[in-house]
Amino acid sequence: MTRRNAGWAILKAASAAGGAAFFAHWLKAVQPVTSAHGHESHVQAPPDPHNWEAYKPQFFSAEDFHMLDLVTATLIPSDDTPGAHDACVAHFIDFVVYAAAEYAPDMQAQWRRAMAYLRGEQFVTMSEEQRVALLERISEPERDASKRNPGYKHYALIKDMTVHAFYTSRIGLVDVLKYQGLAYLTEFPGCSHPEHEKV
């Protein structure tokens, strides 16, 4: 099996063509192209077919959705590269959690609790420094396994999904990570570094 894919946190917790024309297409496919954010890439990544900007939240209330957008943007901020807000991470999370109703209602309950927790902490009205301080505090068990914090499970839930959503988005994968695979290549670009041939 593969390590290229990720599953939901909730699941983890619970348990012949040929010929010249054909190859010409491959060669064309590896010409450098410029992405929407101006980074040159050798990957011809197709556009995201979903219009996330126009997506209307279906699971979270308008207030919670705004809060979710803030917390994901604090976890993966827009800095010198795009962040969770640019990648519409909150929109995607809303879509996933909404769709959990059918087979994983427990996932919806977890997200309701996480939102209630952040509401109780007045997350939305906090300053940016206060938000960072809160997340620092509740994420302490992540850095030190001997520590406990009642907010940690909510942090872990939101972070796991944010990381998944961001790095599987076109912005996260192509523009930020600059992933080079899933291409059509005529040969595999193996290691060309003599320094890697000895340790």
């Binding site: 593969t2 390590r3 879509f95 599987t168 670009p189």
Partner: protein, 551 residues
């Protein structure tokens, strides 16, 4: 009743090969497949995570009905466990990953194609445990040649007695992480070579070479990786001798009064209609355990079971937690295409191959693999502490440096008390009794895994790697998806189900191809050996039929 020369139940690696070999010899073949028809050029294409509704993870909870390993990319070519259950004793989990689709597991297998050596075929003579195979390397070598030559195996000769070389296409180059691991292996005296894969590096038998997209396990869109649908089925269909019956779940082998197989009964998947077809020869090729289930369901006490061994000596290879971490020289380097070939570096077995097997505290051997680099998903990111800009920079910096060493397969000892039987109380969606699987590891299996774990860390350290995750965990049997045995081969009809040609001792016109015949698991990936044994069995079948012995 419709009549054929040969009925083949199952269209995976062995069913596909048998279909091609027999149809090309002029036999009228019915290829009966329980799953749906598939056209690789229509059904498989590159998929970016953000193109899928749930970015690869599926609608939350939905994939629970599928086996672990099924993803939003590929669940349609995996099996639905809700429709196709199996049972185990509550304290003895077994993972059984199956496919029901034309081509079976060849559509998403890991393509590793290794030859067994006599160290495996004759292991019992060397260390005194269990039984030897009834064949030696010399018996099977010409068939390895034949299969490799046809399917195309990219590999480098290694010149190691425990890992025989074959007929190879050029190997795929190593990526940076694999190059570093290769140097590390050399430093500490581990053998290492590019993983041998049935994946083309040049145009071969009308199939195009690999284009290095790395999408292999979701179905190859051009047929550069070996699968039944890309490789063996097209020439089989070209003969005009093949009748393809998909969505047809075989439930019984039919017998006549002369104790010969006379055909099969199958259930049409969507209508539940029961249909019988006849043939002079019946070939079971529906995977090790599905073949055994069919035999158990076809007669009281099991068909072809005068030995009483049918269902016994179940094995999987040993697998467990990887050693993962980072390779510092690759941190913060420009992103390269690292996962496009999905191969890895292979460390063939080097334990117990000398004159004193067992001196390492356990018998038999194992093989490791190592790879790393930028992947389609940065799996390490969820486990990386922190958030904010520093976290994001750290993910980018570590992205090309992620690395892991994993157990490709360790030999699990054959034991009679690891077995399958029919569960009288549970039936699948088509009313066929399901298998109850009882399988556990023994102390030798655990010692072998622990040795792997220590050696894997040794390799990681020799590569000057930073180990992040190193918690030993022996996965439940079945996890390696190398389940074999339960209808083992042998020269003695009292202690084995099949002879060395995969023909049942009891019923001369009944053949069983696949891993069921394995006497031991060896430390190699099993598919190439299953296919070579299929090719060998088909040669005998053709000979016997021409002499009139199959009528």
């Amino acid at each position: 009743m419709q009549k054929f020369d040969v009925i083949i139940a199952g269209s995976g690696a062995c069913g596909g090969w048998a279909c091609m070999a027999l149809a090309q010899n002029g036999f009228k073949v019915a290829l009966v497949e329980a799953g749906s028809h598939i056209e690789p050029f229509r059904d498989f294409h590159h998929q970016w995570p953000y193109q899928l509704p749930f970015r690869g993870a599926g609608q939350p909870g939905y994939l629970r009905r599928y086996h672990r390993g099924a993803t939003e990319y590929n669940y349609r070519i995996m099996i639905d466990d809700a429709d196709n259950p199996y049972t185990t004793p509550p304290d003895k989990p077994f993972r059984w990953l199956r496919s029901r689709v034309l081509g079976g597991r060849t559509l998403h297998w890991s393509r590793a194609s290794d030859r067994f050596s006599d160290l495996e075929f004759k292991a019992a003579s060397r260390d005194g445990y269990g039984e030897d195979w009834p064949i030696s390397y010399a018996d099977i070598a010409p068939y390895y040649d034949r299969v490799e030559r046809f399917i195309g195996v990219s590999a480098a000769p290694a010149n190691l007695p425990q890992f025989p070389d074959g007929v190879f296409l050029a190997p795929m180059p190593l990526n940076c992480a694999e190059t570093i691991f290769s140097a590390a292996a050399q430093k500490i005296g581990f053998p290492a070579t590019p993983r041998r894969v049935a994946q083309l590096t040049r145009t071969w038998n009308n199939r195009p070479p690999c284009h290095y997209c790395g999408n292999c396990v979701n179905g190859c869109d051009v047929g550069a990786m070996f699968s039944t649908v890309s490789t063996t089925l097209p020439p089989a269909l070209k003969t005009g001798n093949v009748t393809l019956l998909c969505d047809s779940v075989v439930s019984h082998v039919l017998m006549n009064k002369e104790n010969r197989a006379s055909g099969v009964r199958y259930v049409e998947r969507y209508t539940n209609r029961s249909v019988e077809i006849g043939a002079s020869v019946v070939v079971l090729a529906g995977s090790s355990l599905e073949n055994t289930r069919l035999l158990l369901n076809s007669a009281n006490g099991g068909l072809a079971n005068s030995s009483g061994v049918l269902g016994k000596y179940l094995m999987d290879q040993i697998g467990g937690a990887d050693v993962t971490g980072f390779l510092p020289p690759l941190k913060d380097t420009p992103i390269r295409n690292d996962d496009g070939k999905a191969g890895g570096l292979y460390i063939p077995n080097f334990t117990n191959i000398g004159p004193k097997p067992g001196s390492s505290g356990f018998i038999r051997g194992y093989a490791m693999s190592a790879s790393g680099g930028a992947a389609l998903f940065p799996a390490f990111a969820s486990g990386l502490a922190g958030f904010g800009s520093s976290y994001k920079k750290q993910v980018n910096l570590l992205y090309p440096a992620a690395a892991r060493v994993w157990l490709s397969g360790g030999e699990m000892l054959p034991r009679k008390d690891n077995f399958v039987e029919l569960d009288a109380n549970v039936r699948d969606k088509w009313g066929i009794p399901v298998l109850k699987i009882t399988c556990t590891h023994c102390d030798n299996d655990r010692r072998l895994y622990n040795d792997f774990f220590a050696r894997a860390q040794e390799l990681f350290r020799a590569a000057r790697g930073e180990i992040v995750d190193a918690k030993p965990y022996l996965s439940p049997p079945g996890s390696l998806i190398h389940e074999v045995g339960t209808s083992r081969m042998g020269n003695d009809a009292k202690t084995s189900v099949l002879n060395s040609f995969c023909q049942t001792h009891d019923i001369p016109n009944l053949f069983v191809f696949g891993g069921g015949c394995f006497v031991t698991t060896g430390d190699k990936h099993p598919t190439l050996t299953m296919m070579a044994l299929t090719a060998r069995g088909c040669d005998l079948l053709v000979d016997l039929a021409r002499k009139g012995d199959m009528a």
